[in-house]
């Protein structure tokens, strides 16, 4: 197959789509704007049919990567492949790739019907009307077909943007912050909707977002990007439970990172000394094998007991904390616990009623199960990715 074949993506029937879908592969992809390197030497394979999320703060290079896949940006270096065909230099209108743009970019002078029909008409397809009507039904916009985009609500416009891209049966559908302009409730609905549609059409979706919850809800695989490189890639649960860097630990959810020193190690287990307490961690959950480290644990994995009240040999325990703040959040109670070395740790406890609520001033011990510990390189900035968690639209 040559690149020219990739230029003619139109499958003859809609059922042909999955067979013609191929893996998307990026090889040492680099994009610089002047002296600023937006994407640095990126290698990435997106398996066909997967829902893939590029997650990162603004300016991390995720949108630039997406635009290079769409052909809207020319890479400075590196190659883009669909299956075995290189598409790096293929013009955007010749790529079997479609985009749902941020803020949708619907054509304001065309009706909803004509917007959705745009791609099919440009490729000279014959059965345009029936295909468009079918798609309009799929996204439940039947009564809006002859309106202009400006007459629709944000959620409806979003569905038009999706329909306009999906109707072309692209091998890869690119979604650039597709839900960013919607309010929270609508966003939740659309997340589930998008996931359902992706499973239905069996196409590769590449989704760019800065919203970690959105990425985790929808994607099979998440690549966390920061500063133009991928920090870590994997299924949401793996990224969350076993982050590889402080950035991932902080950007994806919240983490307590405590300074420690790797003290000794047996075969499968390492012991870390944190301010006098001995903490056990399995070797595969430690990213370094000696020297100073960050010991990490997620706030919801920690449970609190009054000093000396509970002792267990299985769990990791640190002692001598003082509750400085107790906030009731409904599903959970959030504690801030000041440790003897001055650091404040965060603890979330589910309001199951089984555990006692501690008021500020109480001295407490903290416990967590050993497999929930992760150990990161102390060279990394413990606050990386922290401030970006709170997304302001």
């Amino acid at each position: 197959m040559t690149t020219a074949d990739a230029a003619a993506p139109a499958p003859e029937s809609s059922t042909a789509a999955p067979e013609t879908t191929r893996d998307l592969r990026l090889e040492s992809l680099t994009k610089s704007f002047g002296t600023f390197v937006a994407v640095r030497d990126l290698d990435l394979t997106v398996p066909r049919g997967s829902f893939f999320a590029l997650l990162g703060p603004s300016g991390c290079g995720k949108t630039t990567t997406l635009r290079m896949v769409a052909g809207l940006e020319q890479p400075t270096q590196g190659q883009i492949y669909l299956g075995d065909d290189e598409v790096t230099d293929l013009r955007p209108y010749k790529r079997p790739v479609n985009t749902v743009f941020q803020n949708y970019a619907l054509f304001p002078h065309l009706t909803i019907f004509d917007n959705i029909a745009f791609g099919l008409r440009r490729r000279g397809r014959k059965d345009v009307d029936s295909a468009v009507n079918e798609m309009i039904e799929l996204v439940e916009l039947g009564s809006q077909a002859h309106k202009k985009p400006a007459q629709l609500s944000g959620g409806q416009q979003q569905r038009v943007a999706l329909a306009r891209a999906l109707i072309n049966e692209p091998e890869v559908l690119l979604l650039d912050e597709p839900l960013g302009a919607l309010d929270l409730k609508l966003r939740r609905q659309m997340q589930i909707e998008l996931k359902r549609i992706q499973i239905e059409v069996e196409e590769t979706f590449v989704h760019v977002t800065h919203d970690q919850e959105e990425a985790m809800t929808m994607a099979d695989t998440i690549a966390v990007m920061n500063g133009g490189v991928i920090e870590q890639m994997g299924p949401p649960s793996e990224l969350y439970e076993n982050p590889a860097t402080t950035f991932v630990a902080n950007f994806l959810g919240q983490s307590n990172l405590i300074r420690g020193e790797l003290a000794s190690g047996s075969d499968g287990e390492l012991v870390v000394d944190i301010h006098g307490s001995k903490i056990g961690v399995s070797r595969e959950r430690s990213r370094v094998q000696n020297g100073p480290v960050w010991v990490g644990v997620r706030p919801e994995k920690v449970y609190i007991s009054a000093t000396g009240e509970e002792e267990s040999t299985d769990a990791n325990t640190i002692v001598g904390g003082t509750i400085t703040d107790t906030s009731f959040i409904g599903v959970s109670t959030q504690y801030l616990v000041r440790m003897p070395w001055g650091q404040e740790l965060t603890v979330f406890e589910q309001n199951t009623g089984a555990r006692k609520v501690f008021s500020p001033g109480t001295t407490v011990d903290l416990h967590w199960s050993r497999p929930h510990t992760f150990v990161l390189d102390a060279e990394q900035d413990a606050t990386a990715g922290v401030e970006t968690v709170d997304d302001t639209p």
Binding site: A70, G71, L72, R91, P92, Y93, K94, V97, N98, T99, F101, N103, A105, L106, F107, P108, H109, F118, G119, R122, R123, K148, A150, R164, A165, N168
Partner: protein
Amino acid sequence: MSALGQVASEIENEPEPAEVDEPKGGRRYTGYVLIIPGILWLGLFFLIPFYSLVATSLYDPAGTVFSGYEVTWEWSNYTTAITENWQPLLRSFWFGGLATLFCLLLGYPLAYAIAFKAGRWKNLMLVLVIAPFFTSFLIRTISWQLILADNGFVVETLQWLHILGQDGRLLNTPIAVVTGLTYNFLPFMVLPLYASLERIDPRLIEAASDLYASPIRGFAKVTLPLSMPGVVAGTLLTFIPAAGDFINAELLGRPSDSMIGNVIQGYFGGGNNYPDAAALSLVLMALILVMVIFYVRRAGTEDLV
């Protein structure tokens, strides 16, 4: 509904912020106060002269500056004006139309380049577009006499290329008149085109490209339709003054290339034929008005957002 009507109704539908201030009183009249100077100006310098022009067009043609004029409802002034001058009248629309077409062909790419490709040179290029206005219209037109002169470099180059015969010339030809009109009215085309092109979200063009439209098709299906308000405004702003212009025909053409503006100027100036001049002015005005209404209806800007 026309584009303007749509805008007007949108404004009407806006909740009136003035209501909030209602108790303070007075503010609701601010709008009316603001339009008073404009109304006075229009009354003094448009309505009264317009009335006077209509009256003049109906004078007894036998009158002179010395014997005085009298409104005798001479409708024949109109028929005389038209029958004697239908050629310059047609020529005016022909030259004006050609100049508008050339302005569009030259101005669209220029406005497009300024809007999408100029980057940091955008402001400089816009200044350059309006820079000719710093010199008088007359001076600029006279300098075209030098450019197009028989021994000027343009004619010599064209002769050398055998595009123009050895005794061929440009000055005092219809070509010179249309060239002058095109040059003089180009900024009136470029600025509205730029304004409407600049408003187009570049992502729409990217979206067209993403949806399998080649650059040419993307232009035809997205950029051009979205810039239609600019095309309509630009062609009107160019055609109306160009069709009524007399300077370019006077300075760059022969008497046989005269446009309707020259005839009217001749009647008012040397000829002292005020009634025919007034009648002809009104005919020109009416014809342009009809053409504009027809054009705007056809161009159908109401479909645009």
